[in-house]
């Protein structure tokens, strides 16, 4: 019965709306697009709800959110999808990252936000899923559509890049 389906969907999938919005907001970097994409993702999720049999509704929903965002990127901001992964993990920085210096800044939250938003999409996505959603490597691999073995190396690159960005920003202040 459709009513039962709606009720079950509301019970199983709606509770994860914060996670969905947080991911979409960090990927798109603005409220308006994030809201539209989350709504679109939810309607898609409802349409395919019949094929969802797993226990992990959050991962399932986040996969749909992520794919909806990427489709949107391809259509609207394709330049952000081209990232070079060439640089090494440990680039020899002139200024090593100094966490103390960052935390001393009154605007450290703002600096972090800017540094994260400056990261390439692929890096930003794994960091948000790991640090803010606390997902396991296995879950991240499924959502980001990459082999489980790649999650760790991508996180290593992402964190190294984030350190560089932060160091630059902190020293500018």
């Amino acid at each position: 019965m459709p009513d039962q389906t709606v009720a079950r969907f509301e019970q199983v999938v709606l509770p994860h709306m914060d996670a969905a919005y947080n991911l979409a907001r960090w990927l798109t970097r603005n409220d308006h697009d994030a809201e539209d994409l989350v709504q679109e993702a939810y309607l898609r999720a409802f349409k395919f709800f019949g094929s969802f049999h797993g226990a992990n509704a959050r991962s399932w929903l986040l996969t749909i959110v992520r794919n909806t965002c990427y489709t949107w990127f391809r259509e609207n901001r394709s330049q952000e999808l081209t990232t070079s992964f060439d640089e090494g993990i440990h680039s020899t920085e002139a200024d090593p990252f100094d966490p103390e210096k960052l935390l001393m800044q009154s605007e450290s939250g703002q600096l972090l936000k800017q540094a994260l938003e400056d990261l390439p999409l692929e890096f930003r996505e794994v960091l948000i899923l790991r640090e803010l959603e606390g997902l396991s490597y296995k879950e991240i691999a499924v959502i980001a559509g990459i082999p489980p073995g790649t999650v760790m190396s991508r996180l290593a690159r992402a964190r190294s890049r984030l350190k560089q960005c932060l160091t630059k920003l902190v020293n500018k202040e």
Binding site: M17, N22, Y42, Y137, A156, L162
Partner: protein, 252 residues
């Protein structure tokens, strides 16, 4: 592990994603390497900074409402029984009646169709058995090993024949599912060609002489004897496969 390995693995260590053995290796390395342990401290500080300092964006109450109502609307607009005028329903019913009648009558008018269906299943099963590299559940060239293997797995005992002397050694046997029932599949070999011989009980004791079919480049033979239905399939040439069929039929 050297420092280069550690640079990546340290992230798995920090995230608690490594096995205990790897954890131990990394801890040992950190105790002795000042550079890596310095860098690890920075990584930890960064992680704490992101976890506690990066903004988490929750969904607004407005978005929540919007999504809930649009889901309910979609849920409502997809009724299971669409409303159709009675007149069309009557037309649909008579069409359905004819279709069902045809479905029920045609196979009995043309018994061949049932045979075609089974033939297709036999081809699929044969191809699949070669594809997944699993031709046999019991690998043995000994008929006295293969035949008892089926006991308890099937509700009949398939005749397993030794044709090695005639150039068709037995490879083994497996269970398969054809014509809506579990069947015995015997695998024989001729040089590099494999032959699948499917056997299951026939509906009656009629003796049916072998009929040859050709599907997707494979030769098939099927016949019935002694209350069993047989299907043989292979990429062997027709003459060789016919010889095989003759041997199966003739041997005691």
């Amino acid at each position: 592990m050297n420092c280069t390995d550690i640079q990546v693995a340290i992230h798995g260590y920090m995230d608690g994603e490594l096995d205990p053995l790897k954890n131990l290796e990394i801890e040992k390395h950190l105790q002795h390497c000042a550079v890596c342990s310095q860098s690890y401290k920075a990584d930890q500080a960064l992680q704490t900074a992101v976890k506690t300092g990066a903004q988490y964006f929750p969904a607004s109450a407005d978005l929540r409402k919007r999504i809930q109502s649009s889901v309910r609307q979609v849920g409502k607009s997809e009724p299971i029984f669409p409303v159709i005028p009675w007149r069309w329903l009557a037309v649909a019913a008579s069409v359905a009646f004819v279709v069902i009648l045809a479905w029920a009558l045609i196979p009995s008018l043309y018994g061949v169709d049932a045979e075609q269906l089974v033939a297709q299943e036999v081809v699929s099963s044969h191809v699949r058995s070669l594809m997944v590299d699993h031709v046999a559940d019991v690998m043995s060239s000994d008929q006295h090993t293969v035949k008892p293997w089926f006991t308890g797995k099937l509700d009949f005992s398939p005749p397993v024949k030794d044709l090695a002397k005639a150039g068709f050694p037995l490879v083994g046997g497996r269970l398969d599912y054809l014509d809506n029932r579990p069947v015995a599949a015997l695998v024989y070999q001729r040089q590099n060609h494999l032959i699948n011989l499917f056997i299951w009980p026939a509906p009656d004791d009629t003796h049916v002489n072998p009929r040859a079919l050709m599907r997707q480049g494979y030769h098939l033979f099927h016949w019935s004897q002694s209350v069993m239905t047989y299907w043989a399939i292979s990429d062997l040439n027709e003459t060789a496969l016919q010889e095989f069929v003759r041997l199966v039929q003739a041997s005691p």
